[in-house]
Subunit: 199 residues, 2 copies
DNA sequence: TCAGCCATGTAATGGGTTACATGATTGA
DNA sequence: TCAATCATGTAACCCATTACATGGCTGA
């Protein structure tokens, strides 16, 4: 009964972890935690407790195999490799289409939607907060871009696709900043017209 | 013991529903379901089962009050109004700052990150799929924009802030399309350079 | 000396999705 | 006639987060 038949398919998170093993190196759970804290975390960030439990499951269904590595002066660790069955499942997942319903869910926009319940200044603060965050993201992305440039550029092995996800981040951060500026201008105009409008 | 002390605060979804009652009308659960299917659904889309159960909870904690409305030739319904306590809680929530961690989680980008496991054509297909979805969103947004224009424009009562969330969608959809085109060009260039590169 | 990294987990909680259930009315 | 709308829910399931736990080593 090692492999009981699962009715539900594995969640995306499982495959996200599996994918980390396609770069030709064994990885430990800890390595994966670190990978998520790096560039991956910008669009996919499972908690570390979930990473460990997901690895356990992947092992149980036979998608990865484990090897224990004893270390002196460091805790021992378990490193993982993909099995042929795992590779097959990963390939399937990778090629499946994605729902349109992605990227939904923005509490910021939800609150903005209810802007009529705030004062002009409060709304402005919210938008400025958003802008600052976008600006911060933009700077992180730009920093990573430089790092990539120093490491052989986007065309170095295994850098190209991560780089593309980075340009996505760059584009959206920039769009966010521009949008925020536009909104701030609109808020100003609106406030002025209201002041002029009342006699 | 009607109001047992909650340790955890209510989820954002509760407040999202509460907010719907700030427009000065009583609403039924069904009305809220419809609201979500409309423009709100672009960035916040709880399942209808959750809407009903969340309403139940909001009633229990005393944030909304219920009134039954008998209807001929239509099922009876329960309509809701915000209580003063509800209004206070909503105001608090609305003014709280938001985490940077928003808008994370894109399975599309996760898959793109693993593009090296696909053929050039498969990647291209994925990006085209993404582009098509962005295009579709853009069209929906544009359609809504026209509707707003026909209904007094963004400055009509209660339209302004929803309109701002719409412009966000527009900006990001456009950014998505541009990004996709850029990626497609990059993929072409890369393929050509590889063909030319091998002798 | 003390924070931070390495390394792997458990426990509790709950938010959220999907599927299922019901049934009258209305307009194409 | 038949699909869609109005209207409200229950049940099952599970993904995911937060908090807690442990402990040796390393470098500032």
């Amino acid at each position: 009964m090692t492999s009981s038949t699962r009715t539900t398919p594995l969640p995306d998170t499982s495959f996200g972890l599996l994918g980390l093993l396609t770069f030709g190196q064994e990885l430990s759970g800890y390595d994966m935690v670190k990978a998520v804290e790096g560039s991956l975390g910008f669009f996919w960030a499972p908690a570390k407790s979930q990473i460990y439990s997901e690895l356990k499951r992947l092992k149980e269904v036979g998608f990865i195999s484990e090897r224990e590595v004893a270390q002196a002066s460091r805790p021992d660790k378990r490193v993982y490799t993909m099995t042929p069955a795992g590779k097959e499942a990963f390939d399937d997942w990778l090629r499946q289409g994605n729902a349109v319903a992605e990227e939904v869910r923005s509490i910021f926009r939800l609150k903005l939607f209810y802007g009529h319940e705030m004062s002009d200044d409060e709304v402005r603060t919210k938008v400025l907060e958003f802008r600052a965050q976008a600006q911060e993201s933009l700077e992180s992305y730009t920093a990573i871009e430089s790092t990539i440039a120093e490491h052989g550029g986007p065309d170095a092995p295994y850098q190209f696709y991560p780089y593309l996800t980075l340009t996505y981040g760059l584009a959206h951060a920039r769009a966010g900043i521009e949008w925020a500026d536009e909104v701030l201008a609109r808020l100003d105009a609106r406030e002025k017209s209201r002041k002029g409008g009342k006699r």
